[in-house]
């Protein structure tokens, strides 16, 4: 029999809030985490604004040993470890037992690992200094670095791995962890993803001209999902994490329960039809959503809110049309929809998990967070759904079912259905 899976802990490191309390407040208040980035300006990027979480030295010291911080240069592992350990502590779970915890696994995704560390190493290698690299290059630059760091800190003895699927990564990691618990292979999984900061991560997007270059002097106005004046995404970074747990285990240990994961789906458009390396195949997007509903055992009409992918590029209108088609709901019948990227920018491989944390908070606390910078809703969107479905202010309201989707390069999609937990 399939096991029921609930969320018992949350952690987040986002440009507009580090830690769940700060993040919850920022999300409710519509506080932007986008700021001008001096380094991007010096390097003559077109887009010189970005979303970067603020991590203090003290915070580093409370999550890493002094030895771990020697020669440490990986923002992805930094963000992921902080978010992951916050979620673990939030779930009231112990750590540092003497034996591996065979029932606990880690599924923590990442697009890259330690790109700054890798760059530093490349300079040394080309300078014939390979023997002076030290012992920590591999752990910081292997893509699974983040799950390896977390696995060691928590003593996880079940599957410990890293997934990678561009901007779908975070939503996919939660679904993969869900599957592992539902099929009875693990009692709990720390799931999430991390996205690194800095010019060496963001340059490729800047070169593609997909980031906005119109808001270098008005950073907080830069990320404008669904807006008529949207002019490209703002690069972001950070990590989101959640503890997924077998419902029985959660009840047994009297754990806090934030929401239930009903199910979801991942698929790909195969880069066929209108789908390419960088553009989505709408048939696949719609199929991903309808299959997710089917697997979760719910109907499109029952969805109260959507947390979209919605990056602030020309593809936002197409995404709305795809949701409308998949749910078979239009105009005023459409659910509430919002995009966290208006406040955080696009956190790339970290995006899905940070946005899933924001989604779960909405169910748990009973609110719909505002879309900022969308006072001028795109007319193509307004022709499909009623503008009231795109709130520009905080709405306090209990919601029952939320659909969250992420779409990524490679024509890949993920959609997950969260439900308010009632015992």
């Amino acid at each position: 029999m399939d096991r029921r899976v609930v969320i018992t802990g949350l952690g987040v490191v986002a440009p507009n809030g580090v830690g769940v309390p700060a993040f919850t407040n920022a999300v409710k208040m519509g506080i932007s985490g986008i700021s001008h980035d001096r380094q991007l300006q010096d390097l003559q990027f077109s887009c010189q604004i970005a979303g970067k979480p603020e991590i203090t030295e003290n915070m580093k010291l409370s999550y890493f040993s002094e030895l771990e911080l020697r020669g440490f240069n990986s923002t992805g592992i930094l963000y992921g470890v902080i978010a992951g350990l916050e979620a673990w502590a939030d779930a009231k779970l112990p750590s540092n037992g003497p034996e591996p915890d065979w029932d606990t696994g880690i599924l923590f995704g990442s697009g890259t690992s330690g790109v700054d560390k890798f760059r530093e190493s490349i300079y040394k290698i080309d300078d014939l200094q390979t023997r002076r690299l030290g012992s920590n290059v591999v752990a910081q630059t292997m893509n699974s670095g983040i799950s390896a760091y977390l696995g060691g800190k928590l003593g996880a003895g079940n599957q410990v791995t890293t997934n990678s699927s561009a901007c779908v990564t975070g939503t996919e990691s939660i679904l993969m962890a869900f599957d592992r618990i539902r099929s009875g292979q693990a009692k709990r999984m720390l799931a999430g993803s991390t996205g690194e900061s800095g010019p060496y991560i963001w340059a490729g997007f800047d070169a593609m001209r997909v980031c906005t270059f119109r808001h270098n002097d008005t950073p907080e106005k830069g990320s404008r999902p669904m807006s008529a004046s949207a002019s490209g995404f703002v690069p972001g970074s950070g990590a989101g994490a959640m503890v997924l747990e077998d419902l029985e285990s959660a009840i047994q240990r009297d754990a806090p329960i934030y929401a239930e994961v009903l199910g979801g789906n991942v698929n790909s458009g195969g880069q066929r039809g209108e789908g390419t390396m960088t553009a989505p195949n709408s048939a696949a997007v719609q199929r991903c959503i309808t299959e997710a509903l089917k697997k979760a055992g719910v109907k499109g009409k029952d969805i109260d809110a959507i947390n979209g992918h919605l990056t602030a590029t020309s593809k936002d209108s197409l995404e709305i049309e795809n949701w409308a088609e998949a749910l078979d709901r239009r105009e005023a019948d459409f659910p509430y929809i919002n995009s966290l990227k208006s406040m955080t920018g696009h956190c790339l491989s970290g995006a899905g998990s940070i946005e899933c944390v924001a989604s779960v908070l909405q169910l748990y606390d009973g609110f719909i967070f505002p879309n900022i910078n969308c006072e001028d809703l795109h007319p193509e969107i307004a022709s499909v759904i009623n503008p009231s479905c795109v709130p520009s202010g905080l709405i306090i309201k209990n919601i029952n079912l939320l659909a969250k989707a992420s779409f990524g390069f490679g024509d890949v999609n993920a959609c997950i259905i969260f439900k308010k937990y009632k015992n």
Partner: protein
């Protein structure tokens, strides 16, 4: 030239951050093993060697590196390198 006690004193400062056994660290002497006694992660031995190279301004080759598993061997190698300078 530094005497043995001074060398051990310097070595003690170098290995401190990598040590996982405070008791063995406190009593560190020539007979102390880096992995067996101080419970240093074997991957960190290369970091210790880099720190030694920097502290004493010497270069330790791969053969010497392989046998540098305890304080005694480390002192021998450092002394030899310093004498050859």
């Amino acid at each position: 030239m530094m005497n043995k006690e001074q060398l051990i004193g310097k070595l003690k400062i170098i290995v401190k951050p990598y040590t996982n056994n405070p008791e063995a660290y406190e009593n560190m002497d020539e007979g102390t093993g880096f992995i067996d006694d101080l419970r240093i992660n074997s991957a960190n031995l290369v970091d210790i060697i880099l720190d030694i190279e920097e502290t004493f301004d010497i270069t330790i080759d791969n053969d010497d590196m392989e046998r540098m598993l305890d304080v005694k061997a480390a002192i021998e190698i450092i002394e030899a390198k310093l004498a050859g300078k």
